[in-house]
């Protein structure tokens, strides 16, 4: 039961942190709940589908289907997060004003909520499909009993959700006028971390050269197995033994999204008049 709880917790925490940041980033936007929880729901459904087709996926693309699938998910999420950030930079100021003046009911439609919904869905999909397979594996293996497994799964899910909630309420303590800046920063690092994970998947598939294995090794200092390591892994993409290519992707993503935010984010005409 304990093993089940730990494994489920380990998977859930990543998705929970992503959801909490997305919820904080979309604070004050009408109908965000619909998008975010819709994303979670679709992610869960998708997880079961992926788990059911795990065989096919493993055999696809000359045996590296799983890696390519993960890389595709990760890079899609990176794109969506980048798009969200550029969009927020462009409209954040108006949004902050509208929130006071117009009220929240009008704020819907054009907001890039579908991007955030998709990010949440993809995060749930990636972690969820492993959980589904794992629970299925235990159920068919017959060890420990289904009751203990379900209890362990529920405990792991609860703990993961608690970490996400703590993060969310922590972010809510940030004053509204700084909240967009803080969540944009978080999303920027989140995206860079996902890009570095995606690069690692492509190395696994032998589609990218590693450009040096384990450029540094801090696994004795802070392992990704530890809670702190895992949280940092999700939030800022911490890797204890990164390949060179992971560092390249990480930095490139930071630079590209940040410069897109600068280049396209500011609308001098509008912001001067507002």
């Amino acid at each position: 039961m304990l093993a089940t709880a730990i494994i489920v917790f380990r998977e859930v925490i990543e998705a929970a942190l992503v959801i909490s940041i997305v919820m904080a980033a979309s604070r004050g936007v009408a109908r965000r709940g619909l998008w975010v929880w819709g994303g979670v729901g679709l992610g869960l459904v998708g997880s079961c589908v992926v788990a059911a087709f795990a065989d096919r996926l493993a055999e696809a693309a000359a045996g590296v289907g799983q890696e390519l699938f993960n890389a595709a998910i990760l890079f899609t999420a990176v794109g969506m997060l980048g798009w969200h950030n550029v969009w927020m930079r462009r409209h954040g100021r108006e949004l902050a004003m509208e929130m006071k003046q117009v009220g929240q009911a009008v704020l819907s439609g054009t907001r890039p909520l579908y991007a955030l919904g998709l990010v949440v869905g993809l995060a749930v999909l990636r972690e969820g499909s492993e959980v589904v397979l794992f629970l299925y594996g235990i159920a068919t293996g017959g060890e420990g009993g289904t009751g203990a497994m379900l209890l362990g799964g529920a405990v792991g899910l609860g703990l993961g959700a608690a970490v996400g909630l703590a993060m969310y309420f922590g972010l809510l303590r940030v004053p509204t006028r700084h909240l967009f800046a803080v969540t944009s920063g978080l999303i920027l690092f989140l995206a860079a971390g996902l890009a570095s994970q995606g690069a690692a998947c492509l190395v696994d598939a032998d589609w990218l050269p590693p450009l040096g294995r384990a450029v540094w090794n801090t696994s004795d200092l802070l392992s990704e197995d530890s809670l702190a390591g895992q949280v940092l892994h999700t939030l800022v993409g911490y890797v204890s033994r990164p390949d060179g290519v992971q560092i390249v992707f990480y930095l490139a993503t930071l630079v590209i999204i940040a410069s897109l935010m600068r280049r396209f984010g500011d609308k001098p005409g509008r912001s001067a008049s507002s």
Partner: protein, 110 residues
Amino acid sequence: MRHPAPRLALSAAALVFACAATAAEDYVLTIKDHQFTPAELEVPAGQKFKLTVKNEDASPEEFESKTLKKEKIVPAKKQIVMPMGPLEPGSYDFVGEFHEATAKGRLIAK
């Protein structure tokens, strides 16, 4: 069952199918009753190779190794092939994440 002899046979087969561009040798791990055979597998250091993991159990397993940085599902009654290396000389622990208590093993790169 899996001792150097079949590995030799495999290399011979690899020579026969020399048209396959890769010269990488194949190494095989088998999962049965949630255990890896062999539990210790010697692999070459400093070169690329392929690691095949066969799952003979009726439930899926996840080959996971922090030191090798691999995490890959092996569906029930299926096998997966992972491109690996080049590895530094040393030993690399791995587990079957879905049955961590029994499914343990290590690669020894020499």
